[in-house]
Every structure is written in C-alpha cells, then in structure tokens.
C-alpha cells in the first residue's frame, strides 16, 4: 500500500507559531537594512527635511509630541474598531441571507459587486452631516460600509461554492438544510470570510483616517497628519503615520492569529497571504 505523504499535523500550537515567526526573519532583515540605508542616505546627502526626514528625526518628533499622538491614535482606533464590528457583522448577516435565497442572490450580488467599486470615501461628507463631524460614528460608518461589501460578497461565495458531490453526500444521509449549513457550507466558507476580514482591517483603517481628512476633531490621526503636512512639519506627519501603520499591521495580525485558531487545518496546505 502506498505511504502517506506527511506525518499527521499534530504539532502543538506553540510549534506552529514558532515556525510562523521564523518565516518572517528574512523579511525582518530586509526591513532593518532598509531603515539603516534610509538614515544613511538622509544623513550623507543632507536631504532637506521636507522632502524626506530620516528615521531618527521621525523618532525624535514622535517622542516630543507623544501625548497628542497617543490621544489621536486611540480616538481613531475606536472609530476603526467600531466600524469593523458593524461592517463585518452586517456583511456576515447579509451574506448568509443572500446565500440562502437564490432569487435574492441574482440581484443582490451584482449590486454588491458594483457597490464595491463605488468610491465609498466620497460619502464621508454625507456621513459627517448625518452623524455630526465631532461624532466618531461618522467615520466609523465610512469604515463599516467599506468592509460590508467585501465581507458580504466573500461570505456568499464561500457558502455557495461547495462541491455538488458534498451536497449529494449529505442528502444521502437525509441531512436537513441546517445540518448542511453547519457541517459543510460554513467550514467551506471560512477561508473566504477570513480573506475578506484581512482586507477589512486595511479598509477600515483607510476609511477612518481618510474620513477624518474631510472633517474631524483635531485630536484624530487623519487631521493630525493633514495639519502637520499643511505646516510642512513632515517629521510629525511621519510619526503619526507610524501609528497609523501600527494600527493597520496590528489589526491584520489579530485576524491572522484568529484565522490560525479557527481554521487550524488551513495553514498546512496553502501559503499565506
């Protein structure tokens, strides 16, 4: 009899996490090298600060204005998380309902796909007007709407892309619709949903920050960046961008970790991302 290809995937979670971290070493090395080179270029060629400040200058600006930066970051983060929760939840519910009713699917899916290509950010001023500029909900709604469509579309795709033979199999067990949903459709849809979740973290971050460009209280990352740039104070802008980047990366990795927990079987065969 032929032998199985690999050993059972019984490695502990810690072992898998360890190998995951090891995957990042070459990337970390390149990033480190890039930062060093950046600083050298700026110092040696005496690049004027308003074209490109060096990493050290940025770090100094960061330290100098930390309280304001931190306040802006937490404010924006609250908008992002609110938007994520609202948009993802609504997207999941809409996706499940749409997948369930074939007639709804025919019209809702083309609409969702088209709506996904609309520059939702153009609606930011409208949300500002509806909810009030000072209300974080106005930016959270921009983030929520941005996440809603990809999550909905991917949920529908995942729930309906089950191989027909699997459905036949379940029918041969006289399994009800709910059983099929629970045991077949949902596990099948999880990879699709997580792809959309990863995208959503990026979209929500962009939505909140750019929404803030239009109009927002001063103590928000978007306004901080816009104001600092307006005054040509680019080290401050970059310092704020580092925080924005940290939010984006942090949320993305939360989803990655969540994915490894919920779908332990998945990472073994496909490569990330």
């Amino acid at each position: 009899m032929s032998v199985a290809v690999t050993t059972p995937s019984g490695r502990s979670a810690a072992a898998r996490l360890g190998s995951g971290i090891r995957d990042w070493v070459p990337a970390g090395a390149v990033l480190g090298g890039f930062l060093v080179a950046w600083q050298l270029v700026v110092s040696i060629f005496q690049v004027k600060q308003f074209i490109l400040p060096g990493p050290i200058a940025i770090a100094e600006a960061w330290q100098a204005d930390l309280p304001a930066l931190w306040a802006a970051t937490t404010y924006t983060l609250s908008e992002i998380i609110t938007g994520l929760v609202l948009g993802v939840t609504a997207g999941l519910v809409a996706g499940v309902l749409t997948a369930r009713f074939a007639t709804a699917r025919e019209s809702l899916m083309p609409f969702a796909i088209a709506a996904n290509s609309v520059p939702i950010l153009a609606f930011a001023p409208v949300f500002n007007n509806w909810f009030g500029v000072a209300n974080p909900l106005s930016k959270a709604m921009v983030a929520a709407v941005l996440c809603f469509f990809p999550v909905m579309i991917n949920t529908v795709r995942g729930l309906t892309s089950v191989q027909p033979a699997a459905i036949e199999l379940m029918r041969s067990y006289a399994a009800g619709q709910l059983e099929v949903f629970r045991r077949v459709r949902v596990p099948n849809a999880l990879p699709f949903i997580f792809t959309a979740l990863r995208l959503s973290t990026t979209l929500a971050t962009i939505g909140a920050i750019v929404g803030e460009y239009f109009a927002a209280p001063r103590s928000s990352l978007g306004q901080y960046i816009a104001t600092a740039s307006g005054f040509l104070n680019f080290e401050r802008s970059w310092a704020a961008i580092v925080f924005a980047a940290a939010i984006g990366i942090g949320l993305y990795f939360v989803v990655v970790i969540l994915e490894r927990i919920v779908m332990p079987w998945y990472g073994a065969r496909d490569e990330v991302p």
């Binding site: 990337a27 083309p110 924005a244």
Partner: protein, 298 residues
C-alpha cells in the same frame, strides 16, 4: 452559444443591479413620505399634479437637508451656474480629470506590479523577504501618506499618480505572482525539452497563463485607482478634479445639499464604470479561454 443567448445572460446581472437600485430609490422616497419634511408641490415635476402631504412622523435623518429628494438631485444636474454651464457638465469635466489621473496611476501601478512579480518569481530569496513586507505595506493606510507625497512633491498630478499607483500595484503583484506560477507543469516540461530560455518561458507560458488572475487584480485595481485619485487630490487643493467638487458640495451643504449628492453620483458612476470597463475588456481578451476555475476569482 448563440450570440443572442449569451447577450441575455450578460444582461441578467445588469437587470438585477437595476432592480436593487430601483428598490433603494423607492425606499428612499418612501421614507421621506413617511417621516420627512412636508411635500408641497404645485406642479409635481411639471406634471400639473399638486401635492400637499404632511408625513405622519418626523425623523431628522430623512429630512430634505440630510436626504434630498431624488428629483432634486436630478434637477441639480440640469441647473446652471453663473457662467451658464450645467452642473452636469462641470461634474463630468471634473470626473474626466480625475479619471485621467486614475488611469495614469493604474497604468503605472499595473506595470510596476507586473514587473515586480516577474522579478520575485525568478529570484527565490526575494519572495521570502519581500512579499511579507509588501503585505504589511498594504496594511498601512498608505492613503495617510497622500498629503505628504502630494504636498512634498509639489507637482500635483505626480503626487496623485504616485498615490494611485501605490494602491494599484499591490493587488497586481500578488495576483501576478500566483498567475505566473499557475501554468501546467507539463507545458513547462515541453518548453524545457526545446531548451527554451527563461525569457521564452516567461513570454510564451507564464504570462499567457496568468491572464485570468491578472484581470481579477485589474478589477480591484481599477476601483482602487479611482479612490486613490480622489484622495490624492484632496490635500493638494487641485481645482479641476472631483475631490474639489466634493469639498465644494460639503461647504454649501446646508444651502443646497443636492450638489454634494450629484458629485457623489458622478464619483460612483466613475467607480462602477471603471470596473465595468475592465470586465468588458476581460470578457473580450478571454473570449476563447477555458471557463474559469474558482481559483482565479476575486
């Protein structure tokens, strides 16, 4: 399949889309009928019918400022400014300006993305070190950098193009890496038996095999380029693009909300139009291809 049947099949999503839009408009006006500001028309839309309706409820979010009547928005398109040009003409002009910038950014991003993918596919070390960084870079709200790029570079359109191309290159790179590897290994063996060099393999095998994946990415990139162009215009204060129109609409919102909504309609049309355009090109380029497997789908 006979042409007439495939046309009918292609029309189904459009009809579906239209149905939903119609439902939304009905709900829009329906909400205003139930809870908006009073409807007082002597001659409703020129039909001679007079309407005097007081809605039973009052909800602020659906009053005439927050949710203008659909026909008010339509009328806004036809209304004329001091110089005699219709709002429609102004907005379409601004839209075309933004579209041009978006297209330039899209083109640059697509070329850069594809080139980067070709390099990564051929140099193994780069994949392990570069791709994770690229992924991380996309989680950074690069749009946050837009003001810096645009103000710092001081050449407005260049800044916009830079922001836009940043948004478009990433999906193209990731899709191209997958696509350039998605060829049939037996076809590769065949070329190797002809002692084909790497360049030949690239042009004759990898690139053709990757078209389905590339188009999926192009659809995402098209949408992203419109967004990037609008956002890039914002901090630069460029007067010709859609961003300025949106800002104007924002400023005069309490006086005439319809202008902002009209600008949003044009921006939406731009986004959907870009997507549809790429889809049509895809249908034409891939017209003889084998029906797609789910792997290449967006």
């Amino acid at each position: 399949m006979p042409p007439r049947r495939s046309l009918a099949r292609g029309a189904r999503p459009v009809v579906g889309f239209g149905v939903i839009v119609l439902l939304i408009l009905v709900a829009w006006e329906g909400a205003k009928w139930l809870a908006g500001d009073p409807w007082r028309y002597e001659s409703f839309l020129g039909t001679g019918i007079s309407i005097d309706h007081r809605p039973p409820f009052r909800l602020v979010p659906v009053n005439d400022i927050n949710l203008p009547h659909v026909w008010s928005i339509v009328e806004e398109f036809a209304s004329v400014d001091a110089r005699g040009t219709t709002t429609l003409a102004v907005l379409v002009g601004a839209g075309l300006f933004t579209l041009r910038n978006a297209a330039v950014g899209f083109a640059i991003g697509a070329v850069v993305g594809l080139t980067l993918a070709i390099i990564i596919v051929h140099v193994r070390f780069l994949e392990r070190s570069l791709v994770p960084l690229l992924v991380v870079s996309q989680t950074i709200p690069i749009i946050a950098i837009a003001p810096l790029i645009v103000i710092g570079l001081r050449a407005d359109w260049l800044g916009v193009a830079a922001v836009t191309s940043y948004l478009t290159f990433f999906p193209v790179t990731i899709a191209a890496i997958r696509g350039l590897r998605a060829f049939d290994p037996r076809a590769h063996e065949l070329l190797t038996s002809y002692a084909a060099d790497r360049r030949t393999v690239l042009w004759k095998l990898r690139l053709p095999s990757s078209t389905a994946y590339l188009f999926t990415a192009f659809k995402i990139a098209a949408t992203g380029s419109i967004v990037g162009a609008i956002v890039g215009e914002l901090p630069s204060g460029m007067s010709q693009g859609l961003a300025r129109q949106i800002l104007t609409g924002m400023q005069y919102y309490t006086l005439g909300p319809s202008y902002l909504w009209a600008a949003i309609v044009i921006a939406s049309a731009l986004g959907i139009g870009a997507f549809v355009l790429v889809t049509l090109v895809e249908r034409w380029v891939l017209r003889d291809a084998r029906p797609a497997e789910s792997g290449a789908e967006a």
